[in-house]
């Protein structure tokens, strides 16, 4: 499925990433009585009123649209947790805080379809936007350190959507640097021009963010 929309770059569109995020599990509180649903991906239910049950996000949204349930926002989407994450994010300029891999998409879907189930939606939304901005800025400042000797980039705790945004750029930048840091191109210059070893000590990979 990767790159259906753009075979050359082999990236997902935002909508495709959103589709993948719908497989994440989430708790709902049904308000109807319903037997177990037998799906290809597993059995969900039985559904009893007021008894929380864990289902994939797509099922939760489908039930929510029919007003058959209330979605319980995940723990990390509370104001306290997000405030904490934002603070940590700002204090640690070199690493990313652990958030769910699909946090951008899940929060987006919940805001779309289950806004009334979220406590303090305005604050939660602006916190999430802030966190995303801070993290993206970190990615950018990390990318500035790319140079000829970078052959791979390590990004820990980066979310699906964030990776997806920078993927085409990183891939092309690394390709360019790889091409121009070729030993055939630089070799002749190294021995007569400058004394520093240009292409001899190749570092196999550079850690963009330390663990």
């Amino acid at each position: 499925m990767a790159g259906q929309s753009n075979p050359q770059l082999s990236i997902f569109t935002a909508a495709e990433v959103e589709f993948l995020a719908e497989d994440e599990q989430i708790d709902i509180v049904p308000n109807v009585r319903m037997d177990t649903l037998h799906m290809i991906c597993g059995d969900y239910g039985p559904f009893r009123p007021q008894i929380p049950v864990r289902v994939p996000l797509w099922l939760a949204i489908a039930l929510k649209k029919r007003s058959k349930c209330r979605i319980q926002p995940p723990d990390w989407m509370s104001v306290e947790k997000l405030t904490q994450v934002l603070e940590d994010e700002r204090e640690a300029p070199r690493e990313f805080q652990p958030l769910p891999f699909h946090y951008v998409e899940i929060s987006r879907l919940l805001f779309d379809h289950a806004r009334d189930d979220i406590t303090d939606p305005y604050l939660v939304r602006s916190l999430l936007e802030d966190i995303r901005d801070v993290r993206f800025h970190k990615v950018e400042s990390g990318l500035e350190t790319l140079s000829g000797k970078t052959h791979a980039v390590k990004l820990k705790n980066l979310a699906a959507m964030e990776v997806n945004i920078v993927r085409p750029f990183i891939v092309r930048a690394l390709q360019c640097f790889y091409k121009h840091d070729n030993e055939d191109l630089i070799k002749q210059a190294a021995n007569e021009l400058d004394s520093q070893p240009v292409a001899s000590d190749r570092v196999p990979r550079r850690t963009l963010r330390p663990r």
Partner: protein
């Protein structure tokens, strides 16, 4: 390094370079606009596309002169501020031509000059590609070479696609004050 099916690579080989014929060539006067008979004389200076110059060089029929966009003046300019140099108007396939010329000329610094240029301009491309306005064509694109434009567009398009996804549907509410035009100060 280059792929047979790479269009950009093919187009880069179309760029003209000036060559100096080491031998006289009969019957190819079409290459040299100043030749009166149908021959190219020994020592004639002719502009040829890179693919032809490459072949002539390998057969030791011609020397290749380094194009003007790799001369000392440009290199000085590049040292001063890589981000401001207008590469596009000099040669849209700056890097491609440069890489191909490295084995064909005896200028040992060409390869490292290309890497230096790329490194210096990369940071600019990075910042501007992710923050550029969605609708208008940014000014910076006018000075990027073809290779840099591809890099720039990759960053710009994925960011635009994300912003579009974020804004679509009922997702973002627009504050009422944002749509209004600001009144000129004098009228208040």
């Amino acid at each position: 390094m280059s792929s047979y099916y790479d269009l950009e690579d093919l187009l880069a080989e179309e760029e003209p370079v000036s060559v100096l014929f080491r031998v006289a060539a009969d019957g190819v006067g079409i290459l040299d606009p100043s030749s009166e008979d149908n021959n190219v004389e020994q020592g004639a200076k002719v502009d040829l596309p890179l693919w032809l110059a490459q072949d002539l060089f390998q057969r030791q029929a011609a020397f290749i002169n380094l194009p003007s966009y790799f001369n000392q003046r440009v290199r000085k300019e590049m040292q001063a501020d890589p981000g401001c140099v207008d590469i596009r108007s000099r040669c849209p396939y700056f890097y491609g031509v440069g890489c191909k010329l490295v084995p064909l000329t005896n200028d040992a610094t060409l390869g490292s000059f290309l890497l230096y240029t790329l490194r210096g301009r990369y940071k600019d491309i990075l910042c501007k590609s992710h923050s550029a306005a969605v609708s208008s064509t940014p000014k910076v694109m006018q000075i990027l070479s073809r290779e840099e434009t591809i890099l720039f567009q990759a960053g710009r398009e994925s960011m635009t696609a994300f912003k579009k996804w974020r804004m679509e549907g009922t997702r973002m509410e627009r504050a009422a004050v944002l749509g209004k035009k600001r009144k000129p100060q004098g009228e208040l």
